[in-house]
């Protein structure tokens, strides 16, 4: 039995569609499960979790594998294997400012607003920026627009929301895609099952 953590958010529909194309009928199993959060499907036990919790469940061994965005994996500093990058949901983690504004903090650390407390700090450090991160849980872009922060660090897919709110991405900091992730021990113990799941998501060997 392989326990797989699935994200309930925006990644679920394209994931189900991808798996269906490769003969893995996740859609039927999830549709018949109603509001259950644990669904058995043959040799798979599916857990439906909040997106950000998937890397935690996998790293700690409550799930053998999972589907999680690279942003969540890196922000949680999850020591997991990234076995397959999935061909949907690609976006960019960007530094965002008001349109026409420069990223500048005179004589003090730059204040960044982000849902990604650790990742934003890490990526800022990598760029040599002296920054503090204000943790927010939603509508992060507004923090830059309303002056709560000098800039925001958030995911950008098409950029339309930013444009409509008078904002702009000024730097791409990380290319983000969803991955099939696996717990290190589970990968050793259940290698054949993990590889079969990977094939079921279109992975080549």
């Amino acid at each position: 039995m392989l326990t797989v953590a699935l994200p309930k958010g925006r990644l679920l529909d394209p994931l189900v569609e991808l798996a269906g194309r490769h003969g893995l009928a996740l859609g039927e199993a999830l549709a018949s499960a109603g509001r259950q959060l644990v669904v058995e499907m043959g040799d798979l036990r599916l857990l439906l979790l909040k997106d950000a919790d998937v890397p935690v469940y996998v790293e700690q061994g409550a799930a053998d594998c999972g589907i999680a965005g690279l942003d969540q994996v890196l922000d949680r500093e999850a020591d997991v294997l990234r076995l397959l990058r999935l061909p949907f949901g690609a976006c960019r983690l960007c530094l965002i400012t008001r349109q026409g504004a420069a990223v500048r903090a005179q004589g003090r650390p730059l204040v960044l607003a982000s849902k990604y407390l650790r990742l934003a700090r890490l990526l800022a450090e990598k760029r040599g920026l002296n920054a503090t991160v204000v943790p927010l849980s939603g509508s992060v872009e507004l923090a830059a627009r309303l002056g709560l922060a000098d800039a925001a660090v958030d995911l950008v897919e098409t950029g339309r929301t930013l444009r409509e709110n008078g904002l702009q991405p000024v730097e791409e900091w990380l290319a983000v895609s969803p991955y099939l992730i696996a717990q290190r021990a589970a990968f050793f113990w259940k290698g054949n099952e993990v590889r079969a799941l990977r094939r079921g998501l279109g992975g080549l060997e």
């Binding site: 790293e59 700690q60 061994g61 020591d79 997991v80 294997l81 990234r82 076995l83 397959l84 990058r85 991955y179 717990q183 290190r184 021990a185 589970a186 990968f187 050793f188 113990w189 290698g191 590889r195 990977r198 080549l204 060997e205």
Partner: protein, 300 residues
């Protein structure tokens, strides 16, 4: 008395039966090593933190010198014992806690009770250390049929990278190999189709026959295969792990990690390395059991 928690968060105090159990097993394992000719050493919990070898908690003593709390026994033992080794050989064993700022392995506590051994200038190398480590685990009551031994050769991943990319390994690519993120690796370092397929097979844990020749590590894979064949005879499952460990490992030859099925955690580890003595470099090998995790792994 309304006292705060008696230990920092994330560490463990053993009480009553658990403490007795650990003490008894510790004694059984140490007796086994003493019977095999190992000498018991008591290594200090503090050492001068004059270089990067002390990576954990550091503070300053009364004379203003930087002091570190031990994070690992192997390098500490080597530094302490090298001056008295000369041209001879030595086998030592030890037990005690190491303290780390944060766990370095899956599901570990920052504080870890280790029982281990080191040999200097003796035959056996990494294979001998692996055999002895498995003996210790069995004596601790762990079922070896429920263990998986992951074997690697230090620097193997880096050698593969040098071979396939033609460049020295860079940290970003090493990290991708460790995460087995072949997709991003191949995007940053495109490879010919055969090499890409071999790399993917290696990182997916497929048998070395499918990739070792193409990646230029057939001789290394053969050495590991020999060890694996011996383990198989003893009913122990193993694999060859290509992905490099985190930086900072002191092993420079065969190294191993033993995983438990019930805990899905690392029970023991070890390998071969070299230490510098007055007469030059000396072969060394060692292994250590994470006693708390091993006890948790034992069948009820």
């Amino acid at each position: 008395m309304n006292a705060p928690s008696p230990v920092p968060s994330g560490v463990l105090a053993l009480v009553g039966d658990l403490a007795h159990q650990q003490r008894e097993i510790e004694q059984v394992l140490l007796d086994h090593l003493l019977d095999r000719g190992f000498q018991l050493v008591h290594l200090p919990v503090l050492e001068y933190a004059h270089d990067e070898s002390v990576g954990g908690y550091r503070f300053v003593d009364q004379a203003g010198r930087l002091v570190g709390v031990r994070t690992d026994f192997t390098p500490l033992a080597a530094r302490m014992l090298a001056p008295c080794l000369g041209a001879g050989s030595l086998a030592v064993c030890y037990s005690g806690e190491v303290i780390r700022p944060r766990p370095v392995r899956l599901r570990q506590l920052p504080e870890l009770y280790q029982l281990g051994f080191e040999t200097y200038g003796l035959a056996g190398g990494g294979e001998g250390a692996l055999d002895l480590t498995l003996e210790l685990l069995a004596l601790a009551g762990v079922r070896l049929a429920d263990c998986l031994v992951s074997i690697s050769l230090a620097g193997l991943g880096e050698r593969v990278m040098r071979r396939v990319t033609g460049r020295p390994p860079v940290p970003e690519l090493v990290e991708l190999l460790r995460a087995r993120d072949t997709d991003t690796f191949l995007e940053l370092a495109p490879l010919p189709a055969d090499a890409a397929q071999a790399l993917r097979a290696a990182l997916l844990g497929l048998p070395a026959g499918a990739w070792a020749e193409e990646l230029g590590v057939a001789a290394e894979a053969a050495r590991v295969a020999h060890v694996q064949a011996r383990l198989e005879t003893a009913g122990v499952v193993s694999n060859l792990d290509l992905a490099p460990r985190l930086a900072g490992s002191y092993y420079d030859g065969l190294e191993f990690t033993v995983w438990g099925r019930a805990t899905q955690a690392v029970l023991a580890g070890g390998g071969e390395y070299r230490i510098e003595v007055d007469s030059g470099m000396k072969e060394a090998a060692g292994g250590c059991v994470y006693l708390g995790v091993a006890l948790e792994e034992r069948p009820c």
